[in-house]
Symmetry: C2
Subunit: 205 residues, 2 copies
DNA sequence: GTCTATACTCTGATAGAC
DNA sequence: GTCTATCAGAGTATAGAC
């Protein structure tokens, strides 16, 4: 009996290669301007082989976004787990989101900036996925409010929406060669939030 | 001698009709998914007539962005002129930016979200235009720092970049039917900024 | 599973009569 | 300035041999 790698493992590898290549192209050129031939070229496949994995170009985008959401969720959780101070959790979460969005996987960028390319049901599904990610942030912010670290009268939903917006937009102007490092930016956002909504002296609980 | 409207006036009217129609389509469908035929239909023209005004689809986008930038600049200036309190100028500026972006001209939305559709020189020109708009914000923030209303150690460039990012991202999730009005959102952002960077008691100068 | 070849559609742009 | 007709090119998806 011949020994061989389980089919599943090979498929998973292919999936990552295809989606990583596609994400880079989608980020640079945009989804619409990128052709399936370019994607195939980028992962050393012929268009026919790519079509064997994904029947349509849209299917690639959808699967890519699912993986991107998984990646950013994992990074956010990793950054907070093992940190007992909830204020520090928030600070680390901000830095993690920035890092994975800007210097990490292109899939997260595409997830956030190309959802308009999807229509109908697919768009709805992606919005639901995005909501699920944002629910992780609710889970970070709620304990801070309950413990009195964040002022009682701060609207947590608005804080999340505005805060994530501020972070997401960074991806539109950040460059490695710019004046600011990602840490500079993360620290700045953290300081703003801390000074605006955190009760003084409560960050060390 | 026949009396007739000066040619310039007619051209200017046509320009606004074309660009307004195009902006609405670009905002809903995105630039790439919108066809020149759709634009022509939307302004009751035939493709040939549209082509007489704009030789290429890209030329429409570029002119649209120029006009969008002009509009948002005018609204920002209008909101601040006649307000002597610099802190109040900032508050009104925030609301003006939000309003024109979200409920005002679709051109401003397109200006901010479709710059990736441009390539090469055209993209560089638009980035320069965006920088010119941001310079207006520098003009709002600098006096606040010089008068000691904003803490000396706040990086004004980061404050501008992060603040505008927070505002711009609102356009991706705001709906008229949602829980928050534009005023709610503007007030929230203003409060965050005020509590984070404004020296207490200095807002009434 | 992979590769070649191609069908079919759409679109931006143009030519030229009026 | 406007309209009809059309070209040339690009791009997605598919069929079918291997």
């Amino acid at each position: 009996m011949k020994k061989r790698r389980p089919t599943k493992v090979i498929d998973q590898l292919d999936r990552e290669i295809v989606l990583t290549s596609a994400a880079r192209l989608f980020k640079i050129q945009g989804y619409e301007r990128t052709t399936v031939k370019e994607i195939a070229d980028a992962c050393n496949m012929l268009p026919g082989s790519l079509h064997y994995r994904y029947k349509t170009k849209e299917a690639i985008l959808i699967d890519l976004m699912r993986l991107g959401l998984e990646q950013v969720s994992v990074e956010l959780i990793k950054a907070c787990v093992g940190e007992s101070n909830p204020a520090e959790q928030l600070r680390k979460g901000i830095n993690a989101h920035l890092k994975v969005l800007v210097t990490g996987s292109d899939m997260v960028y595409v997830l956030l900036f190309e959802w308009r390319a999807l229509q109908g049901d697919a768009r709805k599904e992606m919005i639901q996925l995005r909501d699920r990610y944002e629910a992780l942030w609710v889970g970070l912010l709620k304990p801070l409010a309950q413990k009195g670290i964040i002022h009682k009268d701060v609207d947590l939903d608005l804080l999340r929406l505005i805060g994530l917006g501020a972070l997401n937009w960074v991806a539109t102007w950040f460059t490695e060669e710019g004046r600011y490092t990602l840490e500079d930016i993360g620290n700045f956002v953290w300081r703003i939030i801390k000074q605006a909504v955190v009760v003084p002296g409560e960050t060390d609980i």
